[in-house]
């Protein structure tokens, strides 16, 4: 008997808001509400082409810590964490390896992507391989770009002597996003940056990633994982 799996509904992909933050205005940094990654929020971000920039995270270590907490969450869907560089990926891979009692490996031996709980860690170049690998066993709930100074979008072209090689890193992300539409909704694009939003050049990134606008959240008030139940 063949079992036909029903398309996941949005509520299956987002059973609870695993990413929560305080939403702020970019310049004044005033508190203007709460951001919770729910099904409705994901739909709105997809429909209106809105990206979330969680800035003012303070440090890379803090971002790493939060994403490890997210990875440890019991969640039905997958978050794809896209690191800015292979080097950064290697640092995080080895940090996790050490925490598991394993030996660190050289950068060249770091896999293009690896799974840790409900998160998959990779780089923009690893995304197409990730799609083809079959390792994504559940829908993509969000693409989390770890881009400390919001600069990944600047890499569109590499020049080597007389030759120009087009190496469009943001396009890898956009293609991956398009390939993982669920129920007509694009997975939300969420960026993590170290400095405050008002010190980052957000306009160029907005157009390169195909966004109509940004929402801004305060990284110092970021919460991940299952929300606490209020008794």
């Amino acid at each position: 008997m063949t079992t036909v799996l029903a398309d996941p509904t949005m509520s299956d992909i987002y059973p609870f808001p695993a990413i929560r933050a305080t939403q702020i205005a970019r310049m004044s940094e005033q508190n203007i509400g709460d951001f919770k990654l729910t099904a409705g929020m994901a739909e709105q971000m997809s429909e209106d082409d809105i990206g979330l920039l969680i800035a003012n995270c303070g440090s890379m270590e803090r971002i790493h810590e939060k994403l490890l907490d997210l990875a440890a969450t019991d969640y039905s869907a997958t978050f794809v964490v896209v690191m800015q560089s292979k080097k950064m990926l290697a640092v995080w891979y080895n940090a996790q390896a050490r925490s598991l009692g394993e030996r660190p490996v050289p950068e060249s031996k770091v896999p293009n992507f690896w799974v840790s709980g409900c998160c998959v860690f990779t780089t923009p170049e690893g995304l197409s391989g990730l799609s083809d690998s079959g390792q994504l066993s559940s829908p993509v709930a969000g693409i989390l770009m770890v881009d400390p100074y919001l600069s990944t979008h600047n890499c569109r072209v590499i020049r080597k002597g007389r030759y120009t090689i087009t190496h469009d890193r943001p396009q890898f992300v956009l293609n991956f996003r398009t390939d993982h539409v669920e129920a007509g909704v694009l997975p939300p694009l969420i960026f993590f940056a170290v400095p405050p939003a008002k010190s980052l050049n957000t306009k160029p990134a907005e157009s390169v990633y195909g966004l109509a606008t940004w929402w801004y959240a305060d990284g110092k008030r970021l919460r991940v994982g299952e929300p606490p139940t209020v008794s």
Partner: protein, 806 residues
């Protein structure tokens, strides 16, 4: 092609084409001999008469003679005779006569396109060399007759400014360079300016025409200051009231030489209207190819740039041979070298079939075409005769074949083909009360007179500029435009809004594309066709205004799905019925890319890219008529409908848009558009708006004749022969919409709207002085969420990302 074979060959090709039905087959228009006036009757100087005797032994046509005499008598003159009637001689001979009489005299030739100026430059130089007194003057001056536009090399510009007496330019250069820097660079030219020639003056309409009108008024202000009083000579296609148009354009009265006085020789001409069960693109393409393979030279006008490119790509796809070398695509966006190659090819007949947009309607010299094929009917009389006038020139035989499109308006004319020729000529619309343009040109005019508002010549500049001055003086008007250091740079003369993007392959520029067409044709990942070749759009770099392309060999096609958001800014007048409300409003239309679909030649979807992919939205502030369905009225109707209620709105919108020219008079279908959206109150509305920046009042007709428009929509729907409830492209079915329409629901809606419009005649409420209304509207807007300042055109607050409401 020998005499009397063009019409016979065309007739044979039509008869031999399978399934081609002839809808209209009037008699051949006979050859008409020219009517001449002897040269001895002319007031032109002896040298010019001597030159003419050699070139035109029969003399001048009667209308040429009359026009030249009018100009020489000191009258501003507009000539509106038909195509190929020798209009360029009417202005070139008086220009040379003027310089013969006064060796220091200067003449300004204004052309709407650089290509036209190019065309005329060589002819003027040849004439100058052939007329003895001019040749003597020209001997010491290399730039005696010269072009001065954006393509002129900057190294020779100082020499041109010093020497030129007959200067060919365009409104953009006149505005940005000549008027702006008159004091430092152009004093001699203005002091001696005797004639201003405005060629193809019918092109100056809409926002472009409004800008040119202000520019010409400013030109006259400067001439007054330099003590010159040039006369104007204008040439026009056949339009309604060219005299009134030129008076609005320049501010001076004109004498008109109208079509009834046309004495030119006209060749035999034949018209047909044909149709077939195939798609009209396929019908047109196949017929044009058949005619060209018979040895005729063919110009096929296509409805859009994309259609013109697809004609060639589908020729390649449907044939196992390469596309013949005599086939080309011609449209704006090609480089000047590409256009010149095609124009030369048409003249020497190495190019025999050109698929073109309306770009070739203008009088660029392409020789005489044997057959014109109109794939989709021209929707203005001006366009019809411009196109038909490309054949049967200079006494030669010519033919024109019309192929109706599958649209409501073309279906109407296919059923009533005689109506196509019996329409009135359309008026040319200008809007000199457009507040934004007035303020911009006011600032330019102030700077041109040295910065003192009070020394402006309001009698020359016009009442509208006077009003701006009075509002400023009373403190009611204070806009950023008045404080710019370089006000001339703020004016977008052609009204294209954000300007153009360069199409680049690596470092090579392929052509240009404007922001309106950017999201439609050259969005990221789209397959863009240019000159018959296919390219993939790799990137759109907004900051540098570059579209990066890569050559791709594919027969696939991409289609963008564009969403539209309409936000009402201000209501200028309204009329409240029981079920509906009618209003004429200023509004902002934002078009943004929703997704792009790539399809194989068999129609299978190959790939889809969702989202805007970083493409900038196209924003259009404009004016339009709004038909609002009140909530109780709409709720009651929705309960009676079988299908999706929104589809009935879209069906009515399509019919209104398609049939609008039947109430407005012939107009270019590119000049208006439509949409359906909810207004601030949440009620649904259908909009008909001007598709030009800031609007020109074209769709105001819909406000005054909405009942008539809806009645015609009802007639079209009820008389359509399609049987299915989804309708067809000739009535309510929209090829751009995925969801089907419903004839029954649309008919229900139309009937209810018509009943509401006819039951009563409420008063029209105006909001007062239009100039003041919009000024007050532009008071500061703030985001509700973070209180940051936003503009009326923002969709989202740039500070917090909050979605802004109407």
């Amino acid at each position: 092609m020998s005499v009397r074979t063009v019409i016979e060959t065309t007739s044979r090709c039509i008869a031999d084409t399978d399934n081609l039905q002839v809808l209209f087959d009037p008699a051949v228009e006979p050859f008409r001999a020219g009517k001449f006036r002897a040269l001895s009757e002319s007031s032109l100087c002896a040298d010019i008469v001597g030159y003419q005797s050699g070139e035109f032994p029969d003399g001048l046509y009667t209308h040429q003679h009359d026009a030249i005499e009018s100009v020489l008598a000191g009258n501003n003159t507009v000539v509106a005779t038909r195509t190929s009637s020798g209009k360029s001689l009417i202005y070139s001979l008086p220009a040379f006569h003027t310089v013969c009489e006064d060796p220091d005299a200067t003449v300004l030739f204004l052309y709407p396109q650089k290509a036209l100026a190019n065309d005329q430059l060589l002819k003027l130089r040849e004439m100058a060399a052939a007329i003895p007194c001019i040749a003597n003057l020209q001997a010491g001056k290399e730039h005696f007759v010269s072009r001065y536009d954006g393509s002129t090399d900057s190294s020779i510009r100082p020499a041109i400014r010093e020497q030129v007496q007959l200067m060919l330019t365009n409104p953009d250069m006149l505005h940005f360079s000549v008027l702006q820097h008159h004091e430092r660079q152009w004093q001699r030219f203005f002091r001696n300016l005797k004639l201003v020639v405005i060629d193809e003056c019918h092109e100056y309409r809409g926002i472009f025409g409004t800008n040119v009108s202000h520019i010409l008024h400013r030109l006259r202000q400067l001439c007054q200051r330099y003590g010159s009083d040039p006369k104007f000579i204008a040439t026009s296609a056949t339009v309604s009231d060219p005299q009134e148009h030129m008076q609005q354009l320049t501010g001076v009265p004109f004498t008109c030489i109208d079509p009834e006085r046309d004495g030119s020789q006209q060749g035999q001409r034949k018209f047909w209207m044909v149709t077939s069960p195939d798609h009209y693109h396929d019908t047109g393409r196949n017929l044009a190819m058949k005619l060209a393979e018979s040895g005729l030279s063919v110009l096929a006008f296509c409805p859009t740039r994309v259609a013109a490119e697809q004609m060639v790509s589908r020729l390649e796809r449907n044939s196992d041979k390469d596309t013949p070398s005599f086939v080309r695509v011609y449209r704006s966006g090609l480089s000047s070298e590409q256009r010149e190659e095609i124009e030369c090819g048409l003249r020497d007949r190495t190019v025999r079939l050109v698929f073109s947009t309306s770009a070739l309607e203008l009088g660029i010299d392409i020789g005489s075409i044997d057959v014109v094929v109109c794939i989709g009917l021209p929707h203005s009389m001006m366009s019809l005769w411009q196109r038909a006038g490309r054949s049967a020139r200079g006494g030669r035989e010519g033919a024109t074949v019309f192929i109706p499109a599958e649209t409501p308006i073309d279906s109407w004319y296919a059923a009533h083909p005689e109506d196509l020729f019996s329409r009135d000529h359309e008026p040319l619309v200008l809007n000199r009360t457009n507040q934004r343009l007035l303020c911009q040109h006011y600032a330019c005019a102030v700077q041109e007179v040295g910065g003192d508002d009070d020394s402006m010549d309001f009698q020359t500049l016009g009442n509208e500029i006077q009003q701006i001055h009075d509002l400023r003086a009373s403190g009611q008007l204070d806009r950023d435009e008045f404080y710019r250091a370089e006000p001339h740079m703020e004016v977008s003369v052609r009204g294209m809004g954000e300007g153009t993007y360069d199409l680049m392959i690596g470092k090579d520029k392929l052509g240009e594309i404007d922001s309106l067409h950017l999201i439609r044709e050259a969005c990221r990942n789209a397959i863009y066709r240019h000159g018959g070749q296919a390219y993939r759009v790799i990137d759109v770099i907004r900051g540098k205004r570059i579209v990066s392309l890569r050559r791709e060999f594919t027969f696939n096609e991409t289609r963008p799905h564009i969403m539209k958001k309409i936000k009402v800014r201000n209501t200028l007048k309204s009329q409240a019925f029981t079920g509906v409300k009618l209003a004429y409003v200023t509004l902002n239309v934002t078009e943004f890319l929703n997704c792009v679909t790539e399809r194989s030649p068999h129609g299978n979807v190959v790939r889809t890219w969702n989202g805007s992919m970083g493409m900038p939205p196209h924003q259009l502030p404009t004016e339009g008529t709004m038909l609002v369905l009140r909530t109780p009225f709409w709720n009651e109707l929705k309960q009676q409908m079988q299908g999706r209620p929104e589809s009935s709105l879209q069906g009515l919108e399509r019919l209104m848009r398609g049939l609008f020219p039947t109430i407005s008079g012939p107009c270019d279908t590119q000049d208006f558009s439509s949409g359906t959206d909810s207004v601030a109150t949440g009620e649904m509305a259908i909009f008909l708006y001007d598709a030009v920046y800031d609007g020109v009042g074209l769709t105001e007709t819909a406000f005054h004749h909405m009942q008539s428009l809806v009645q015609r929509a009802e007639e079209r729907l009820s008389s359509c022969s399609c049987e299915e409830d989804e309708g067809c492209f000739k009535c309510i079915r929209d090829p751009q919409k995925e969801q089907p329409a419903s004839k029954a629901d649309t008919a229900l809606l139309i009937h209810a709207v018509l009943a509401s419009l006819t039951a009563e005649v409420p008063d029209v409420i105006s909001t007062g002085h239009e100039l003041i209304g919009d000024i007050r509207q532009t008071a500061s807007l703030k985001c509700e969420r973070c209180d940051e300042g936003v503009t009326a055109t923002d969709r989202f607050c740039p500070n917090c990302g909050f979605k802004l409401q109407a």
